[in-house]
């Protein structure tokens, strides 16, 4: 009652009557220009996706050469040319299992079936269809029912390309190397060296270079012991071999071609294992026309593209910054003259410039190819950043803080780099980052067109893989697909990333999304 009376009389009380008031420290963290940009960049999903894809591609480029047994500079494996992708772990889930579709006529079907029969026949005494078909190296993964098309019987087969390679003749093997191979055979219980073929028993002399023909033929079909043509798979076990035998009938495993050099016939899969410390072939993206691993070449191509994009960006940015700053800061006649120079340079078509650099520097080996490409991109590339920086300098150079600095006696250089330049940085960097995908695209196009000719150098560009891929596009599409996908992904993700960066660094867009 008394309380109510008191409040009725004087309803107001001092809220902080006895409190001591001082400045409080902010609990929140300050949000600066770059912090703000980062916060808004994180919000843009497309930009983050772009950045993640770029990082994944970079990781691919870094780690593939590390984990692969092949290196990008090495000469390819001439016996595994134009092979489709094969990777043992992935082959169990039917990806990269080394198979391709082939339409086989009876002759092709029989000779492919014979390959695994030959593999199982280690010493020229046990040709058997059952063994061949049960072999782990059976060439066919699946075979369709035979069908007749324009008078010929065909089968649609899934053929394992690496098994199809089968036997290969090897020249110039010394006796020591031969014995080492024999030792390896017994240790690993895998046959490398197979009986030689007697050329005189072959039907046509051109068969002599094909190590997979170890049987006698008649008009292309294998023959049985009585000399009759075998035209059905069921009778293939009865075929007559063409092995080289001595007078007592034992098969020969080598022939002498030159002194101390042996000519042998190897099962290439096992020979590959012997040469690579037991590792089986592993070509995740297949091989190109020289037998080089596409996965590794792709990684080095990506490396070149990214390195080129970044180093061009840095050099262009540096030159452009100095040039643009001088133009913008001093203005007047200096600006006029410098602008005319860059105007004329900007009018030179890039294609003309690149071709001249190629003719003058790369084809005459005056400069390393990489340096020459960067040089070509830098020749006119700095004009863009210079122009943007000039505009920014015009905007800032008469601001009060600049005048204040000048009054305090700061030198021109100090005003330019310590006072004006940091304010222009965000805008300039983002605009310049957006030129990276353009550089990557142009480089791949020029090396594809051979306007920048990298064939003499040891570096790989996505464009050179594309050029190879296009030659074999209809028969071996596996070469052209990876570089196409990678370059498209790079372009898309760099554009997403760059646009996100540009929006993030533009403070006027703050809150526009909400």
């Amino acid at each position: 009652m008394e309380q109510q009376e008191k409040e009725r009389k004087n309803p107001f009380a001092f809220a902080q009557k006895d409190a001591k008031l001082t400045d409080l420290k902010f609990d929140t963290k300050p949000v600066g220009y770059f912090k703000d940009a980062w916060l808004r960049f994180k919000k843009s999903k497309a930009a983050v996706v772009g950045a993640v894809i770029i990082i994944l591609i970079v990781l691919y480029a870094i780690f593939t050469p590390v984990f692969s047994s092949h290196s990008s500079g090495e000469n390819g494996d001439g016996n595994y040319k134009l092979m489709v992708p094969y990777n043992e772990p992935l082959s169990h889930i039917n990806i990269a299992d080394g198979t391709y579709s082939k339409k086989c006529n009876p002759k092709a079907y029989l000779s492919l079936s014979a390959i695994s029969i030959g593999y199982e026949d280690h010493d020229g005494s046990s040709i058997s269809l059952e063994k061949g078909q049960a072999s782990q190296f059976n060439v066919f993964k699946s075979v369709s029912e035979p069908y007749t098309s324009s008078g010929t019987v065909y089968r649609d087969c899934k053929v394992q390309a690496y098994y199809e390679k089968g036997f290969v003749y090897m020249d110039g093997i010394t006796e020591d190397a031969f014995n080492a191979m024999v030792d390896w055979q017994t240790k690993n219980n895998a046959q490398i060296i197979y009986p030689m073929v007697d050329d005189t028993l072959l039907e046509i002399s051109s068969q002599a270079s094909n190590a997979n023909i170890f049987f006698q033929t008649k008009s292309g079909y294998p023959i049985d012991q009585n000399g009759a043509k075998i035209t059905e798979l069921a009778k293939l076990g009865e075929m007559k071999d063409a092995y080289l035998r001595d007078s007592s009938g034992t098969v020969q495993f080598w022939e002498a071609k030159a002194s101390n050099q042996r000519y042998i016939r190897v099962w290439y899969w096992n020979y590959y294992r012997y040469m690579n410390n037991g590792a089986i072939p592993n070509y995740l993206l297949g091989t190109d026309d020289l037998g080089r691993d596409i996965a590794v070449r792709l990684a080095s191509g990506i490396g070149l593209s990214l390195l080129l994009g970044v180093s061009t960006f840095i050099v262009n940015f540096t030159i452009g910054a100095i040039y643009g700053a001088i133009e913008g800061y001093y203005g007047g006649v200096t600006d006029l003259i410098m602008e005319r120079i860059s105007d004329i340079l900007a009018d030179i078509p890039f294609i003309v410039l690149a071709s001249i650099v190629n003719i003058q520097l790369i084809s005459t080996n005056k400069m390393s190819p990489f340096g020459a490409i960067v040089f070509a991109f830098v020749l006119t590339g700095w004009i863009g950043p210079a122009y943007r920086l000039r505009t920014q300098f015009y905007r800032f150079k008469n601001q009060e803080y600049v005048l204040a600095a000048r009054t305090l006696g700061a030198s021109d250089a100090r005003i330019m780099w310590k006072h004006i330049f940091p304010n222009t940085l965000g805008t300039i960097i983002t605009a310049s980052v957006l030129t990276i995908p353009g550089t990557i695209f142009t480089e791949s196009m020029l090396s594809y067109l051979n306007i920048i000719n990298l064939n003499q150098g040891s570096i790989t560009s996505l464009g050179t893989i594309l050029a190879t891929g296009q030659q074999y596009m209809t028969t071996y599409p596996h070469i052209i697909v990876p570089p196409c996908i990678i370059i498209s992904l790079l372009m898309i993700s760099f554009n997403l990333f760059g646009n996100g960066l540009r929006d993030a660094f533009n403070p006027s867009l703050r809150g526009a999304e909400e």
Partner: protein
């Protein structure tokens, strides 16, 4: 206006001259090497020809003679390897036809489509149709043109075989660039050129139209009683077209350079094809003519684009201080 055009043309000629001189000096400073794979007597013939043409004289004298020949006789040199003994300028003009043809077809096809898509996206802004179109635009603008070319070539020309793998030659097409056979064989190239152009144009139209749709004169137009369609067609579209038309002109110029790779993929005997052949075969007179062509196109384009602003929008006066 007239004075401004004259000034621009004068500047064009000067820039053209400077660039050509640089190119010429660069080419002439290379060591002279006869092509590989020919026998000694042929090398002797080539060396005698070089002697007769004055290739061993100082570069400055050659340069002077080169420009005097161009100005007095319109003689740009001779093609010695690509088209034997044909004048280089003739070699170029023979190939401008196919290049212009595919570019024109591609523009006829892609400009209406690009504009319609852009308008549609702008009118449906922030609805699902706009989102779908925007994502597609993003993808199609980014993916390089040669990737489309490979896709088109593989699926339509090789797998389905509705079009031939490469362009027909002039004689196969009945001696005319305008025959049906020719057009049919050029379709894949035209398609590959168009994807990027359509996407780029659609993006530009969408951005411009969105801006003019939110302008205040649109509010006025609605307030004075125009229907939505009337206001959009007569006011927004009209104004949006001011920057769009010069950009179409720029597209046309861009495409001439961009078709280099498409011409190579589909073996179209155009200027780009000639240019690359000239570099690979070291046919430097032809190479210089091609260079001149590209430089001139680029310079002329920038003048045309600047002037076109004045014609399209009467508010813009050219060359005013």
């Amino acid at each position: 206006m007239f004075k401004y055009i004259l000034k621009r043309i004068g500047l064009l000629l000067m820039t053209f001259l400077i660039i050509m001189v640089i190119c010429f000096v660069m080419i002439k400073s290379l060591p002279l090497t006869p092509p590989e794979g020919i026998n000694e007597s042929q090398v002797a013939v080539i060396k005698a020809r070089w002697e007769a043409l004055g290739y061993y004289q100082p570069v400055m004298i050659q340069l002077w003679r080169y420009f005097v020949n161009i100005i007095t006789k319109w003689d740009w040199g001779t093609s010695w390897y690509i088209d034997y003994n044909l004048s280089a300028i003739r070699s170029l003009t023979n190939r401008i036809g196919p290049t212009m043809l595919i570019n024109t077809y591609s523009l006829i096809f892609s400009v209406p489509l690009g504009i319609v898509l852009g308008i549609f996206a702008a009118l449906k802004k922030n609805k699902w149709q706009d989102n779908v179109i925007s994502v597609l635009i993003m993808v199609f603008v980014s993916v390089p043109s040669y990737v489309y070319a490979f896709l088109v070539q593989y699926f339509f020309c090789f797998k389905v075989q509705i079009w031939p793998l490469t362009a027909s030659s002039l004689s196969d097409a009945g001696g005319s660039y305008f025959s049906w056979t020719m057009f049919h064989s050029l379709v894949p190239a035209i398609l590959s050129l168009s994807f990027g152009t359509i996407a780029g144009l659609a993006r530009f139209v969408r951005a411009e139209l969105t801006e003019s749709l939110t302008s205040e004169y649109m509010l006025l137009a609605r307030a004075k009683g125009l229907t939505n369609t009337q206001a959009t067609v007569r006011h927004a579209l009209n104004n949006a077209m001011v920057p769009i038309l010069p950009s179409i002109l720029a597209d046309f110029i861009d495409i001439i350079g961009g078709s280099l790779v498409i011409e190579q993929i589909f073996s179209i005997p155009g200027v780009g094809y000639l240019f690359i052949k000239a570099i690979n075969m070291k046919d430097y007179d032809v190479y210089m003519v091609c260079n001149g062509f590209y430089v001139f196109i680029g310079l002329a384009a920038s003048i045309l684009i600047d002037l076109s602003y004045g014609f399209i929008d009467p508010r813009i006066r050219m060359g005013e201080k």
